[in-house]
């Protein structure tokens, strides 16, 4: 039996954040077991945010080389995809080494324990047949891709866990799903020149965003040569035996796919934890209270394994820290409406606060303004002005939600986070000077549209 002050199950974003915060707050005195398996760092650095953004950014460069945006400029635009993917895998490895493997070496109070943990009782887990007892636990086991039950879908597909192993650019790829992972990878592969088809059972994409944002995004993605098959139920996947796959839907058969990517959502990794033995309740993830405490008083949970609507690396890290603060006497909670959200296709989609649908469901009165990106000089300079900015405000002018479809929106939505967190009005937004010309002006101009006709407004006008 090994005893610890804190045992953290899972060494991804939430687990690492928790281990480091607990060490900081206790001058590295807290004896911590950080239990996990697979590469350190979990989904984000290994198979999530980091490789996907590397892929997307490179695909944009390639696309712009092949199709220069400005008169008088031309380029070669050749692609060695194998060499590129090798560089992607090396980059991931380097980031993991720098941000996780090297970092954790600074904390001598943290024991890395390689293995799968499962509860023996309310304060003890087994790992590799060794018992570990702890004063507190944080479960941070993350999530994994959900594989739908479709006939013929069997070892003939990729997910976001292993698409990074491919050597050759997919000639024709079917992507099942229309969430963030599906849209980002569809954008990247189509920009590299793959023929991309998105299949989804519902007729929407990005279900957490309002329709005006997603319908505009679909237009942009179609211009990037992505084929959408929305509201399309897949009956069967057929392998030809010659490396090509066909997809049978109620609309017909689509043939000749070199790759299938399943991106139909994620499910929490809680199956093997033996949660019942510890009195921990779960449904679509581990059930926690506002302070991230489970139904077992000494056990907390953080990140994708929690029963919550958002699965996001930044939220996971914040929850890991919050759980530790609460174990040490804090009374902290996280408002999920203050969590920013972005999809890194081009244009980016970025969002903070309430959507119109959420407000309608809650019967909260609101007003909305939307401006097209053609009103934003920098977007015109970038020749990327097909997006929009949308602000939702209440009767007292307080901003309830900001949603942007624009280049670099993921970089500047942080302005919206401060606005929402500090309960600011659109007058506060208008009175804050923005740099000209930037795409971030889209948020300010949208705020101005509450008080004037922005088509009759010159640049830099307050």
């Amino acid at each position: 039996m090994n005893e610890y002050d804190l045992a953290i199950i899972g060494w991804g974003a939430a687990g690492f954040a928790a281990a480091i915060k607990a060490s900081e707050l206790t001058n590295n005195e807290m004896k911590i077991a950080l239990i996990g398996h697979g590469n350190l760092g979990g989904t984000c650095v290994n198979v999530g945010c980091v490789p996907s953004k590397y892929l997307i950014e490179a695909s944009k460069v390639y696309k712009n080389l092949k199709n220069p945006l400005y008169a008088g400029i031309s380029g070669d635009g050749s692609l060695n995809f194998q060499e590129f993917m090798e560089s992607l895998r090396n980059f991931v490895s380097d980031e993991r080494t720098i941000k996780y493997e090297n970092v954790i070496k600074n904390f001598k109070n943290v024991d890395l324990i390689n293995g799968s943990a499962y509860f023996k009782n309310n304060n003890t887990v087994y790992v590799n047949d060794t018992e570990i007892r702890a004063t507190n636990f944080i479960i941070a086991t993350g999530s994994r891709p959900l594989i739908p039950d479709i006939m013929g879908l069997n070892n003939n597909y990729y997910t976001s866990d292993n698409i990074w192993t491919i050597k050759d650019l997919p000639e024709k790829i079917a992507i099942l799903g229309s969430g963030e992972v599906a849209i980002e990878l569809a954008y990247a592969f189509s920009s590299f020149g793959s023929e991309v088809h998105i299949f989804n059972r519902s007729n929407r994409i990005l279900k957490n965003f309002d329709d005006d944002i997603t319908s505009e995004l679909i237009k942009s993605l179609k211009e990037n040569h992505i084929n959408f098959h929305l509201g399309s139920k897949i009956f069967k996947i057929n392998d030809s035996g010659s490396g090509e796959t066909s997809i049978q839907t109620e609309d017909g058969i689509y043939k000749g796919f070199s790759h299938i990517l399943v991106a139909t959502g994620r499910i929490p990794n809680i199956d093997s934890l033996n949660l019942d033995k510890a009195g921990i309740m779960y449904k679509n993830g581990i059930i926690v209270d506002n302070h991230l405490k489970t139904t077992n008083d000494i056990v907390y949970a953080a990140g994708d394994c929690v029963d919550q609507p958002i699965k996001l690396e930044t939220l996971a890290g914040k929850q890991g820290v919050t759980a530790v603060n609460n174990i040490l006497g804090g009374n902290e909670s996280i408002n999920l409406h203050e969590v920013p959200w972005a999809v890194f296709c081009e244009p980016n989609v970025a969002s903070i606060g309430y959507t119109e649908k959420e407000l309608r469901d809650k019967n909260i009165k609101y007003r909305t303004r939307i401006i097209g990106l053609k009103n934003v000089v920098k977007a015109n300079i970038l020749k990327n002005n097909s997006g929009l900015a949308k602000i939702i405000a209440d009767d007292e002018n307080k901003i309830l939600g900001i949603h942007v479809l624009a280049p670099n929106a993921a970089e500047f939505i942080i302005e919206g986070v401060y606005i929402i967190k500090n309960k600011l009005t659109y007058n506060d937004l208008i009175n804050s000077m923005h740099i000209f010309p930037t795409v971030s002006e889209s948020i300010k101009i949208c705020g101005q549209s509450f008080i004037r006709d922005v088509s009759k407004m010159s640049c830099c006008m307050d």
């Binding site: 005195e29 004063t135 040490l328 006497g329 804090g330 009374n331």
Partner: protein
């Protein structure tokens, strides 16, 4: 009824720290006595049954250099 609340206390480096933590604990409503150990980094708090153990963690003394974690609660 009196109960014993065991806390793991972090951040103590000297006897002054022990005194500081002990004084902070004894100042809490319902706390009868506190045995603070520098060597073990612990505090055994004897308190009225009405004292909620979690409230000890957020005492002023644990808002700065020192931090406390609840280990166990036993009825005496």
């Amino acid at each position: 009824m009196v109960k014993t609340i065991e806390l793991r206390v972090y951040g103590m480096t000297c006897d002054d720290c022990v005194l500081h933590v002990k004084t902070g604990l004894l100042g809490a409503s319902g706390v009868k006595d506190a045995e603070v150990s520098l060597k073990d980094g612990t505090a055994l708090v004897h308190a009225d049954d009405t004292v909620k153990p979690e409230t000890l963690l957020s005492l002023d003394v644990f808002r700065g250099k020192y931090k406390a974690q609840l280990r166990s609660v036993k009825n005496e």
